[in-house]
């Protein structure tokens, strides 16, 4: 298997005649953490969903050894895990139910404990705060990726709703997955976190504005261009 776990070439997404992602190319290798940054509406969530194979896209795409658009979902999920920005649940499960649904109750319980949610296992999701619910879904996502080596972990603003302690735990979890050989793609508004990543992808209006090591991609000029364009400055 090659070093490259996630590879997109000229990736494009068009929904209802609007081009939300236009010609984005990026790569993430084993052990790398790649931050996807950009202003609101830049297309971060759309790009992550496209990479996870959840949207109809044009262009080349390979994630965890497969093209997620054509491989069957069960096989795909063995080498690709995805957690949405705002997970939801139609039914009011107990926190512990999520481990059985994802098929690895022990691994899930382990992640719950690492995210300081072990004491909530018997509660219902509706009894948890937004941040705690997000933590439970992250634990579910982490538990789903039983073989990190060569797999892709795609997280949409994993730390956004969490308190400081859990933000740090999620950061540790991401690093642990990278250390175990996964490629992690993380959408974030936290530029401090992005500067610590191996690589940064700056999106603006669905296009790739800059990509590369943090020092090269997050220059004051690029930041002004990306965020300035969104605020109309």
């Amino acid at each position: 298997m090659s070093e490259t776990v996630i590879r997109a070439l000229g990736l494009g997404v068009e929904i209802n005649g609007r081009r939300l992602i236009d010609g984005v190319s990026l790569a993430a290798e084993r052990g790398q953490v790649v931050a996807v940054v950009g202003p609101n509406g830049a297309g971060k969530t759309t790009l992550l969903r496209a990479l996870a194979g959840l949207l109809p896209t044009v262009g080349e795409l390979e994630v965890g050894g497969y093209d997620p658009r054509v491989i069957d979902p069960a096989t795909c999920a063995r080498t690709r895990a995805y957690c949405a920005q705002k997970p939801l649940s139609a039914w009011d499960y107990r926190v512990s139910d999520l481990g059985e649904i994802v098929g690895d109750p022990l691994g899930y319980a382990d992640w719950l404990a690492k995210l300081h949610l072990g004491a909530f296992a018997d509660r219902r999701l509706s009894e948890l705060s937004g941040g705690e619910q997000k933590g439970a879904h992250l634990a579910m996502t982490f538990a789903a990726l039983t073989e990190p080596f060569g797999s892709a972990l795609i997280l949409d603003e994993p730390a956004a709703a969490l308190d400081l302690g859990r933000q740090e735990s999620v950061r540790q979890a991401i690093l642990a997955f990278a250390h175990a050989g996964a490629a992690c793609i993380v959408a974030t508004h936290d530029l401090e976190f992005a500067r610590l990543c191996d690589s940064v992808v700056v999106l603006a209006e669905g296009r790739l504005l800059a990509t590369g090591q943090p020092a090269a991609a997050l220059t004051p000029g690029i930041i002004a261009e990306a965020w300035g364009a969104a605020t109309g400055r």
């Binding site: 996870a52 979902p73 069960a74 999920a77 995805y82 139609a90 039914w91 499960y93 649904i101 789903a144």
Partner: protein
């Protein structure tokens, strides 16, 4: 409540009901000397059990696949489609409709699958309002179609009207009921393996696919099997509202929302509710028995309002 307790209580209740149902209503069914309990009451009890379990599990599956606690084959027009299918067959060729045991079930299945598919295409992916308004439209259309056919065909008129009022259980004979009864059980058995897919789907389509669920296949299977359950149950009882709605709600209240528990328990509760309603209908006013659907509606309406209140909180 633990699952074991819920099942224990449910099975004891059901066993008691079956004994009661087999012993009630001798006067009502005194159709001549040839009518023994084995010929009259047993088929009726079996039909009520089978239809009830199909209604219960069908409702649970439909709620699961639409991620909506108000989905119910009665409200969403799938029963209406099944009855409309039967009406079309009876309207087109009233004589040949009864020549083969599978003609009527097949017509019901075609109608139910039609409405079930339209519902999935038009009513899903949006709000409760969209789902229920689509169901309302399908219900109105199929009910009107059934009425038009009933009013124009002399011999089938009473039959179709009784079907619309859920009053067909009384006609159950082993000869008429064996195939729909088997189909009810088949649909229920085939729905059980969807439990994990429905659990995954409850986190949304993205999450379900992210965790390896095949959303398209789950949806196709659920649409097909709820149509089969609804069609087979309609062949036995006619249209019965509320059971597909109540059974899953009661099941979730007892054992939580995991589909591996909710699907089978909804089947058990559906069987209890329908057989209970039919037995009450026959037993309380033995001179003028009420249809199972009428009893379900009278007892189900207050529970329906309770659900509406509970969902709002």
């Amino acid at each position: 409540m633990t699952a074991t307790k819920a099942w224990g209580a449910g099975i004891i209740l059901l066993a008691g009901l079956v004994l009661l149902a087999l012993s009630v209503g001798a006067g009502v069914f005194g159709w001549g000397e040839g009518g023994s309990w084995a010929q009259l009451r047993l088929p009726r009890v079996l039909a009520a059990l089978a239809a009830g379990l199909a209604l219960g599990i069908g409702g649970a599956a439909q709620q699961g696949v639409f991620r909506n606690p108000l989905a119910d084959p009665g409200l969403t027009g799938v029963f209406g489609g099944a009855l409309f299918g039967i009406a079309v067959l009876l309207g087109l060729s009233p004589e040949s409709a009864w020549q083969r045991a599978w003609f009527i079930p097949a017509a019901a299945f075609a109608g139910a699958l039609g409405t079930s598919t339209l519902l999935a295409l038009i009513g899903s992916g949006g709000s409760s309002a969209r789902l229920l308004l689509t169901g309302l439209g399908l219900n109105a259309f199929t009910a009107a179609g059934t009425l038009v056919i009933a009013s124009r065909s002399g011999e089938s008129r009473e039959l179709l009207t009784n079907g619309a009022y859920g009053d067909w259980l009384g006609m159950a004979t082993l000869e008429l009921a064996w195939l729909p009864t088997l189909l009810c059980m088949l649909a229920a058995l085939l729905l059980l393996p969807l439990a994990r897919s429905l659990d995954l789907l409850s986190f949304g389509e993205d999450a379900a696919r992210g965790f390896g669920g095949d959303v398209g296949r789950t949806r196709r299977q659920a649409v097909l099997l709820t149509a089969l359950a609804a069609a087979a149950a309609t062949c036995l009882v006619g249209q019965v509202a509320f059971i597909g709605l109540l059974a899953p709600h009661l099941a979730r209240a007892m054992v939580g929302p995991r589909h591996a528990k909710v699907l089978p328990l909804s089947a058990l509760l559906g069987a209890i509710l329908l057989l209970g309603a039919d037995t009450i209908g026959r037993g309380v006013w033995s001179q003028a028995p009420l249809s199972a659907a009428a009893v379900t509606a009278v007892l189900g309406a207050p529970l329906f309002i309770w659900i509406a209140r509970r969902n709002h909180e």
